[in-house]
Symmetry: D2
Subunit: 339 residues, 4 copies
């Protein structure tokens, strides 16, 4: 259960991801609050902190971490700044959620690893958020049951509408396939041992000089083959798909209808077993919407008129069944309050 | 933005729904906390309150509402107790989230309506949570654009695995179709004017004497026809489906892959436009999981080893592309801390 | 096995359906040929008969049936002409495939029934072609296994792009729902005992005065409830859907991906078990296309160049696997004959 | 239009595929008949020829081709026998449908090519039947419109339930991927220039020593990358899938519901525009079933009782609408003839 002393979070970096995390902690997350934000641009930090009770702003992460109300750090600055931020957090013994990448290259990542190892306990969670996606979680659960046997192949598709102007051919791997690399390791529980990249003639939609799309083939120490279509100018939307091919069946996510499994002569998926499972998110949103509106002094959801009108239809419905006939519904005139 | 003084909620009723709402407010909802719970059974109330800092228990809702830290009330007691709870909340001028039904019949609902009207402002939200379901919201948005024209029919399917022992033939309407009644009114923006109920020969799975399934046909003041299959012993799971038939197309939800639209010679749906849209829930879950683990003093997500291993594979991948060959990945030995 | 003396068919009526059946018998059907056609319009009959070896034309069905090479009759004239044609066929003891409806009303249908009964053996097949649709056949097979238990409800959707100018509100039933009526009787093996029709406010796309769409509810002597959305100006295409709700599961066809079954916590369908099942239609089309092209003195399909090029790639592929490396494919220059 | 002198076909090879083609030509194909069959095993040839009017049997293909009633040859013997059969057919100037492979290797294929080139006109169609599959045809049509832009990648999945005992690791390419090789060339209109094969650790379901599954990556002269999962012991069924990734969208077939296209923010497919399109196959099967039954002296389809019962329900339905009430259906007692 939540303790009423919320976790005080310091957010480093208030760009797109950082600002979104600040909003998330303040408006969505239970049990945490943003106590300070850091940005090299003080104006941007001020803008993000505005309207949050007691939220301070800093330009220096190290100074910010010294504050006693900082219980944890969320690092959302550019990748090149991560190593310093992480080492500073270690020196303050603060737990960290670090947006991906951990650091921009293996050598610096290894330095962070050594530092955490010297600390003797794990303090860092890396922002590979696909491990928290409902579909990937379902896929992971299914694989972990062993019901489909050992994984042999993993086919991935990763498509973006269009690449931003500053995108490079290396970012296909470093910024996009990075997710499939983590997903492969997590889903299969195996390390990747070799990589091959094939490049078709670039799409007409790719900026001049950009190698897009790319086709990445990876091998793992468990003997699995993994392929990734990475296509950052597909032109129609954002799409992520994964299909695991196992010895006794396959499972695919990302087609927008949960997980579809092929097994034993059947394709298909599971059906929710009760309304809590089906409408859990709706209940969560309902209560959050009510709390938010109430704090603003408003009522925004279905109200008493709706409750009354529904009750009147229910009465007519029960009568229609017991009397075996069409029954008309009578409502009082709708009061002005409910118009 | 969230104020740090969380909304103090009194939860009335600690049965299945009430206890779930208590858990939700404490663990999921941002900006609210449970300050007290009420139940006619003090032991049940104690059990639910245990572990929540400063959460008091009551057997009398009226006494509970008198407490100054109660900012709002969530009513999750049985329907027959709702009227009294609502009137008490009105007398304390407290905002209410009232689980459906508002009250068990139209006459009592009308009394509540009159009371709120005398109060002169709306205080009550009724728990029709489907209005907060992502698929229903998509359907509502589409209808509201007018792109498909005026709604002509609405086909609904509502299936439950099996009915509990105390279920009656009237509860098909009062407890189940009640949702489709609200959904019809909300989606179409029309009131229901007549109801007919047809009953097939009961299913062999229905308890002796129970009329299950039922087929409900409703007419609206906008000239639409609405049908509902209500089937509480379908035997295979929980399923809710809705298809709106409009003048220029149809839209269906509930087949587990978002909304499928028929229009202009095409069937299909929309594709997410960016990763925020696709993975928003994953980000929310990720940050909540990190906050929860951090408060427990744990690190549960992907860690530094993962960040390092991924960086090493990325380096190999970029090299594989630029050098046009298969590149092997070299990792240091995995330290004990990360095993 | 086919006897080489093909069945001689007389086709009565050479409108849209009749002309299509003539084409079908000549170009698609194995073991039959059109020996004569009848139409009140001799020019239309001539046009359809042109190019068919020895195909005669008539304006009088009775005269046509007297010819000794007529082995069977296909009736595709307007419904009002069916009774006379059927009785004439009975007097010549000829087997008949009669397009739906058998006759336009129950009284005339009863006269045909009495006539066939006096004949003492069945001679007539009625053109309810949905009984030959692959999806309906799958649904029927599943129901007949009893695996899903007894049918309780049958939901149908029947949508047409737009109604022709001469369409009337009665034709919704007589020309469209007529198929669902037959399908209901065939799928469930039950007779229909009562009908109710509900009409929403007509669609803006329906011609002035036409009641479109309509919602038809039928009851059967087996205690099932059947509903049909009939919507002849839906504006987006032609769509036919059927969902049978049984005691232990449901099965739906018409969403364009075979049959989808809900049962025992799972939704899904079956996977083909071998290539013959998956590609049977392709083999049929391939051989028909080859026969047709060969009779025209042409070669239209994949040829020797394709066979050669594929063989060369296969060789490279096998080498690539055994040698564990990328292998280039070498082809001779493509000869002019194959360009 | 069909000439009544059917094409006389000689079928060489009466194993599984050959016997199936004999059945097809006799029972399904319009305008052709089997005049002779050839097999090294005379008993097998006799068995297949039995029951076909005037069908002769041979053990020597060359002798069989000399017969004047042989208009065309279908080669379904083992691949090693194809070259001789094709050359013999060339010497008789007979058109040929040759089951895949054309010949077992590129050198022999090249000899056949040279022979046909000397003949000066194309006589051979190779049995790449996927070019006649409805889904592949749809995909090809879409690509040919250019609406999705140039193809960049083609992802293929090809799965078989289980491999037969005599299967070898080379047959993955020669007998299975051979289809994807042809499909690639046909769909993209490009030749394949290089092949790489990656092998995961073999599936536990693969017989000892068999490299199964395999992952094949091909490059084309148009700059496209093509990958194929070939998996002949997948254990759950037979599945073939193809997804073309183009510059402005993707299209996928093989998920059992026609073609699904991603384009311009939407996923989905097309809806049939009329009942002929939707039910064309049903009409074909209906007429074939009627012809077959009639030739056997039977009536197997819906009959006069069905026509009558449907007419009675239609009458009730029209009355139900015009009178705005539930109308009961009255049927005469069902005569013995129709029970």
């Amino acid at each position: 259960m939540k303790r009423h002393d919320a976790l005080g979070v310091l957010v480093i970096g208030t760009g797109r991801m950082g600002a979104d995390h600040v909003r998330r902690i303040e408006e969505v997350t239970s049990g945490a609050r943003v106590v300070a934000v850091v940005d090299v641009d003080p104006a941007r930090a001020e803008q993000v902190a505005a309207g949050i009770d007691g939220c301070r702003t800093y330009t220096d992460p190290v100074a910010a971490m010294a504050s006693p109300d900082v219980d944890a750090v969320l690092v959302a600055s550019p990748g090149v700044a991560h190593e310093a931020a992480l080492l500073a957090a270690f020196s303050h013994d603060l737990p960290v959620l670090c947006e991906k990448p951990l650091t921009p290259d293996a050598a610096s990542a290894l330095r962070v690893l050594e530092a955490e190892r010297r600390l003797g306990r794990r303090r860092v969670q890396v922002g590979f958020m696909r491990r928290y996606d409902a579909e990937y979680l379902k896929l992971k659960s299914l694989l972990d049951t062993g019901r489909l046997g050992r994984p042999l192949m993993l086919h991935n598709v990763h498509r973006n509408m269009a690449s931003p102007p500053w995108w490079t051919s290396a970012m296909h791997i470093n910024d996009s396939v990075v997710h499939e690399i983590d997903v492969t390791r997590w889903l299969l529980g195996q390390e990747i041992t070799a990589v091959t990249v094939l490049c078709p003639r670039p799409s007409v939609n790719a900026p001049e000089g950009l190698q897009d799309p790319q086709f990445v083939v990876m091998e793992t120490d468990g003997g699995a083959i993994v392929d990734v279509e990475i296509n950052v100018n597909c032109g129609f939307g954002y799409q992520v798909r994964a299909e695991v091919v196992c010895e006794r069946g396959t499972a695919r996510i990302g087609d927008g209808r949960g997980m579809v499994v092929n097994s034993a002569g059947q394709w298909g998926g599971t059906i929710a077993q009760d309304f809590i499972e089906r409408f859990e998110d709706a209940y969560d949103r309902e209560v959050q919407a009510w709390v938010d509106a109430t704090r603003r002094g408003e009522v925004t959801g279905p109200g008493v008129w709706d409750g009354y009108a529904v009750a009147a239809v229910c009465e007519a419905g029960v009568r229609a069944r017991t009397e075996g006939r069409r029954v008309e519904v009578e409502l009082v005139e709708r009061p002005a309050l409910y118009r």
